[in-house]
């Protein structure tokens, strides 16, 4: 009971809010060095965040409570406070609704972190795609072309890629000899001593050397993830070593277990049940200037399940919500012939709106109660002196 008392104390609430302010301040400063994605993962989606107080050559990491820990404790603090002191009365309804709204807001952030996804879809005019890619995540894919014209794809996520990892397939294994989360690839003739001594013996990566590099922090730079992999038949010797990288275009093939397989490291894909075709991209400017007036993408939605085959327009501040995803106009390239959509999947996107509405209603209820009391006090006849 002592624990519940401590957990339900208002002092803990104040302390946690204080830590949250410090965390936001540190994360904002660290964003200069690390970029927004790294900061989100390191400070807000972690139990303990290791703050590098002197970024640069000398690392002095200090542990501070991460966003997940603070958020969880705030939720528990709120629940414990109600658990310890809750007694229903109409005068407290407003406070209960306000706290429920705050609780929902905190849980909404937790579920957004767990279930939300942000990907990109890059389309050339006339191109059709049924998948988006995650710009900061890669996957190792091993593909078996099937006789019916489709392909069986086994996608190994980046979190599973590490030195020595081995992935069995029927009749052979794919073994990662060396893994580079970010790298530089150069022709062997141009490589220096700092480059890794491993070399490919098969595939299109032959003749290239790989240099290990720290992960890119800024949003405008992408990691070049690479790996030297071996194909090892069951009970046999290695068939050779391939260099796979998202810097190398296309897949590399290898024969194994009676099939001609393909493999690659590529940006991780999120497949959709429908396809999007870019019909036309427009980049309007104000007459006689280069000042952008509007970016818009005329697209066609092709959905075999619903039979939809229709056009739509995505432009600034006018995203397309379709199939549980939201497509925002995020960018363009290739002389205005390629569009880039930010594809956001957030099944709990309505929660912040509901939570804010609840807090608003609760506040309205509380203020109304106070107002009614104040008015009734004023109208009460004052006793004669």
């Amino acid at each position: 009971m002592q624990g519940l008392k401590l957990l339900s104390s208002l002092r803990l609430t104040v302390a946690l809010l204080g830590f949250a302010m410090v965390l936001i301040f540190i994360a904002t400063i660290s964003q200069v060095e690390l970029g927004i994605h790294e900061v989100q993962a390191k400070f807000f989606r972690s139990w303990i965040a290791w703050w590098d107080i002197m970024p640069g050559e000398k690392k002095v990491p200090i542990p501070i409570p991460g966003g997940t820990l603070l958020g969880s404790l705030l939720v528990l603090n709120l629940l414990a406070a109600h658990g310890a002191r809750f007694k229903f009365s109409w005068s407290k309804v407003g406070m209960v609704v306000i706290h429920s709204g705050i609780l929902l807001l905190l849980l909404g952030e937790l579920f957004t972190g767990l279930l939300g996804r942000e990907a990109q879809m890059t389309l050339n005019e006339g191109q059709i795609l049924n998948y988006s890619t995650f710009p900061r995540e890669v996957e190792l894919v091993v593909i078996r072309p099937d006789s019916d014209g489709l392909e069986t794809v086994t996608a190994i996520p980046q979190a599973r890629l590490k030195d020595g990892a081995e992935f069995p397939f029927g009749g052979f294994s794919v073994r990662i000899q060396s893994y580079f989360s970010n790298s530089e690839i150069l022709a062997e003739s141009e490589a220096t001593e700092a480059f890794d001594k491993t070399h490919a013996t098969e595939g299109s990566g032959k003749g290239y050397a790989v240099l290990r590099k720290p992960r890119e922090a800024t949003d405008d730079r992408k990691d070049l993830t690479s790996a030297f992999v071996e194909i090892i038949p069951d009970g046999g010797k290695s068939q050779g070593r391939w260099l796979l990288s998202n810097a190398l275009k296309g897949e590399q093939s290898f024969p194994a277990a009676g099939w001609l397989w393909k493999m690659a490291i590529r940006q991780r894909r999120l497949y959709h049940e429908f396809s999007i075709k870019l019909v036309d991209f427009s980049h309007d400017r104000y007459l006689g200037t280069d000042v952008p007036k509007n970016f818009s993408s005329k697209i066609r939605i092709l959905n075999p399940d619903t039979g939809e085959n229709r056009e739509d327009l995505i432009y600034m501040n006018h995203p397309l919500r379709y199939g549980g995803l939201t497509f925002y106009q995020a960018g363009f390239e290739n002389n205005d012939s390629t569009t880039i959509f930010q594809v956001v999947r957030n099944p709990v996107w309505t929660i912040p709106y509901i939570a804010c509405a609840m807090v608003g209603l609760g506040l309205l209820w509380v203020f109304s109660q106070h107002l009614i009391k104040a008015i009734s006090r004023r109208n009460k006849p004052t006793p004669a002196p």
Partner: protein, 346 residues
Amino acid sequence: MRKFVLLAPLSLFVLSSCKDDKIHTYRVANDAAAESPAPPDVDSMRAEPEIATLAVGWKVPEDWKQEKAGQFATAAYALPEGGRVTVSKLAGDGGGLAANLNRWRGQVGLKPVADKDVSGQPLKIADSDEVMQLFNLTSVDSAADAEGILAGILPLKTETWYFKFSGSVGVLRKSEAVFAEFLRSVRIAGSRKSASASAPSGLKKVKVTPPDGWTPSEGSSMRAASFSIAGPDGTTADVSVVPIPGDSGSVLDNVNRWRSQLQLAPLASADDPALGNKDESPAGELFVSHMTSSEPILNGKKAAMGTAILKRPGMTWFFKITGEATLVEANLGQFDAFVRSATFPE
């Protein structure tokens, strides 16, 4: 309530510890280029030269406007009522009937079909034993502005031809009959029945003198002569002489097709110096080209091609040497002499 408070930390910990690091296996249509998915396959090109494909011909309606065909298509036409017809060919089975059909089905929002369920309406090619398969990739209830495709796929022994009419469903319905007429006009000049009609046998004879070291090879029925050159390290180069009745397209079209096989960008105009040179030979005017891939695309090495186009009355002769770049370049002089040695019995 208190039990809930005690359970909450555990559930929060479990939820926030979830990471999407599972290995997933799924089946999808293969990643294909928009129009023609098969990358240039130098090995298959060497085994069976693409030049034989030029034996397929068709009659274009007068009001169709010829358009720039692009890197992979052989021909493209804009129809007066709207829509676009493209003709393209791929080596071998082009990756399979189902794969190509499913790619198109995806483009118009139809579900993929399994290989066993792929069946088109047969159209027998006149003067030939070959059969084209016709597909209508629109659904009956498609809105007029929905996209659709009408297609004819003609599988031949060594290659597959694709005749594709794409546009809105309304446009397709309007010009359906014209496209069907266009497909009925397709002929195979080198086929068993039409060869004698379209190419008198005398016109297909050539006498050539191969240099030492070139050995006659089996080739194919389309070849008038075929040789193989053995190089060091087990490399080989292939030499072919293929006659095609008639004009057989512009030099630019032919060179761009060869360039695409070497994964080189197409040339924009016939004035580009990379196109090649005109030359004279005892048998007539030649157009000679030489091209080398910029990437190692043949057994980890660069590939090269030497070609000569010789136009004779009623027949165009294509001489070609292909293979690993070093071997081809070492034999270019002999290839030139080989081309000039050609004589044509009357």
